[in-house]
């Protein structure tokens, strides 16, 4: 029989890290060996008997012994995941889809725009970029969260800011007394003076509305459609291009994406909804 693509393999939950009130990072180990993925690829994480949902690992792809998935509590599967303790056995299918084409980024300035829990896949991307930081001219991160308490990976972000490997600017939509930085949506910290657009790529990951306006802002700044890499979120159910749920025009988000350049999909309708 051909390999059954609907059958998950077993993983063990080895650690749970609280990132914010609604977000946790889950650390998994494949119970029968290691696990490799390319940054930007996704997996289907399975709660036995309950259901599964697609997530992009948030850990360094160079680490094969274990992998992280950062998950916000939003639906049936994620509610259950948030209630799980260490050593629970779960299932995984994947990795699926095409990740970030790092070879296309070499020698360029990498302008990364993230929103909310969209920083999770981007953390994996940033680790991958830092693994070979000499390959890239400059790495920039522009990240927006709803409020200071919603910022995830706070310590890591502070560490990155100190080390100066990544040029970071943060913003929040709504501030509180602890916040001394920029207030406003993420597009308010995008500035064409920061980046040499002729030799740059932009990478956007976040909630659909944020991705839409960030993309429009990047185009206004002078980025070409083909320079903008979008991590699309659709209902990826089977993950292998069969079930029909995640179609974007002539593509399936799961097998042809989830990373697309904007010129690939800008001609299709309903892409931001």
């Amino acid at each position: 029989m051909e390999k059954n693509p609907y059958n998950p393999f077993k993983v063990k939950l080895i650690d749970v890290i609280e990132e914010s009130q609604t977000t946790k990072t889950f650390v998994f180990k494949n119970m029968n060996g290691g696990f490799s993925f390319n940054t930007g690829q996704f997996v289907e994480l399975y709660v036995p008997g309950l259901g599964e949902a697609p997530f992009t690992p948030s850990s360094n792809p160079a680490i094969k012994e274990q992998f992280d998935i950062t998950i916000m509590k939003v639906g049936k599967v994620t509610q259950k995941l948030h209630s799980l303790a260490k050593n629970t056995e779960l299932g995984v299918r994947g990795p699926y889809g095409k990740g970030y084409p790092l070879q296309n980024f070499k020698g360029k300035e990498i302008y990364i725009v993230g929103g909310g829990v969209g920083l999770a896949p981007l953390r994996s991307l940033l680790f991958a970029l830092l693994n070979n930081k000499g390959d890239y001219k400059k790495i920039m991160l522009r990240y927006g969260a709803r409020a200071p308490k919603d910022i995830i990976y706070r310590e890591l972000v502070q560490e990155w800011q100190k080390e100066k490997d990544i040029d970071i600017r943060l913003t929040v939509d709504v501030c509180d007394e602890t916040w001394k930085g920029n207030v406003g949506v993420v597009t308010t910290i995008l500035d064409k003076k920061d980046v040499n657009i002729d030799n740059a790529v932009a990478i956007v990951c976040g909630p659909p509305i944020m991705m839409k306006f960030a993309t429009f802002k990047l185009i206004e700044m002078g980025f070409k459609d083909s320079q903008i890499y979008l991590s699309m979120e659709k209902n990826m159910s089977c993950g292998v291009g069969k079930c029909g749920h995640c179609r974007i025009g002539n593509f399936y988000c799961c097998k042809d994406g989830p990373v697309f350049t904007y010129d690939q999909i800008s001609g299709f309708k309903e892409i931001w909804d």
Binding site: M1, E2, K3, N4, P5, Y6, N7, P8, F9, K10, Y46, V47, P48, G49, L50, G51, E52, A53, V74, G75, V77, T78, G91, P207, P208, E233, K234, N235, S237, C238, V240, G241, K242, C243, G244, H245, C246, R247, G249, N250, K255, K269, E270, I271, D273
Partner: protein, 355 residues
């Protein structure tokens, strides 16, 4: 290619012999009386063969339900406690499959058998299946296959092709598997005579003229006139108007020989974790919803449009094939009287007017 003739009694005994290797199903007219030319407008169903072909309608139209169910079940176990399930079943033998369903296999074969990941459940059933197809000699008023360059007789995706010529069947051999059966039971077959072949040709011509009449009567556009029409009519009022009577029952999806969407449903039974692959319908509200609640097709007209977009834009673009075979099932099945012929006609007219 050699063409044979088999009498109806010899065919019955042929089926009795070969069905031992299969779970066999034949097209049955549920009305008790049956005559080879008088089953017009009657509804046919797939009947499990249990030693008798009683009520067989080889000359009739396609069944009410498409043959996709025999390769892509409405609910099928695909995982059991992290293992492959034990779905051992006899291969399927179909008797009387029509070309609109056979051409539907072009789509489901592409979906489940091509690409980086393949569906082993579909492949197993598809490869083990034996299809005895037959000419559609009594098309229904809703049949419009020929508008889409599909003939009312078997063209591909079958093993043996039959035409009911009253006293028996003219038999066309398509595959090696079928050739082996003919060789094994050669005493039941004779070479088809010219008179028998002529009879078949006349029946084919009559059926073709019935379908051509339908196509003309309802003004169904031809395949080449449908190129790019969904893209051109994406913002058209057509979708909002047509969606007014849609009740989101999903019948058009389930009854369609090319609709192939499914979801993976997880459950637990007796301490075992089971995953089923279950038919889904893109007309349902939650079809494209993501966990955060975003829904790319919140409104019903968008979902109705999506079904046409997938069939008349996506598949022509990625495979070069329209994912509609003109079987007309969605016309009869729809409680809202949404008629694909009318939608295609209106789209083609609007696209032409805009050009």
């Amino acid at each position: 290619m050699e063409k044979f003739f088999i009498s109806k009694s010899a065919f019955n005994s042929f089926i009795k012999e070969i069905s031992r290797d299969f779970a066999a199903f034949y097209l049955k007219d549920k009305a008790a009386t049956f005559d080879w030319r008088e089953n017009r407008r009657k509804l046919l169903y797939w009947q499990k063969y249990e030693g008798s072909l009683e009520g067989l309608s080889m000359a009739g139209v396609r069944a009410q339900d498409s043959l996709k169910q025999f390769v892509f079940s409405s609910k099928e176990k695909v995982s059991q406690d992290f293992n492959d399930p034990n779905n051992k079943k006899k291969p399927v033998l179909l008797i009387g499959a029509k070309n609109c369903d056979l051409r539907g296999l072009d789509i489901t074969d592409f979906v489940f058998m091509q690409g980086d990941f393949k569906d082993p459940f579909y492949i197993k059933k598809r490869e083990d299946m034996f299809i005895i197809a037959s000419d559609c000699t009594n098309p229904l008023g809703t049949c419009f296959c020929m508008a889409l360059d599909i003939q009312p007789y078997p063209e591909k995706n079958y093993d043996l092709g039959l035409c009911d010529i009253r006293d028996g069947y003219v038999v066309e051999v398509e595959t090696q598997k079928a050739r082996n059966y003919i060789a094994q039971y050669k005493d039941k077959f004779s070479m088809a005579s010219n008179a028998q072949l002529k009879m078949r040709d006349e029946l084919r011509e009559a059926a073709a003229s019935d379908v051509a009449y339908n196509v003309a009567k309802y003004g169904v556009p031809k395949k080449n006139e449908l190129k790019g029409v969904v893209e051109k009519c994406f913002e058209s009022q057509i979708w909002k108007d047509e969606a007014k009577t849609c009740v989101e029952c999903g019948c058009c999806n389930f009854i369609c020989p090319t609709c192939h969407c499914f979801f993976l449903g997880d459950s637990s039974e007796k301490n075992e974790h089971i995953r089923h692959k279950i038919w889904d319908a893109c007309l349902y509200k939650d079809f494209a919803v993501v966990a955060g609640g975003a829904n790319p097709r919140k409104r019903l007209f968008q979902r109705l449009r999506n079904r046409y977009d997938k069939k008349f834009a996506f598949f022509p673009n990625v495979l070069g094939v329209i994912a509609c075979t003109g079987c007309g099932r969605c016309i009869t099945g729809c409680p809202g009287k949404i008629d694909i012929r009318r939608i295609l006609k209106n789209m083609a007219a609007e696209a032409k007017a805009a050009a």
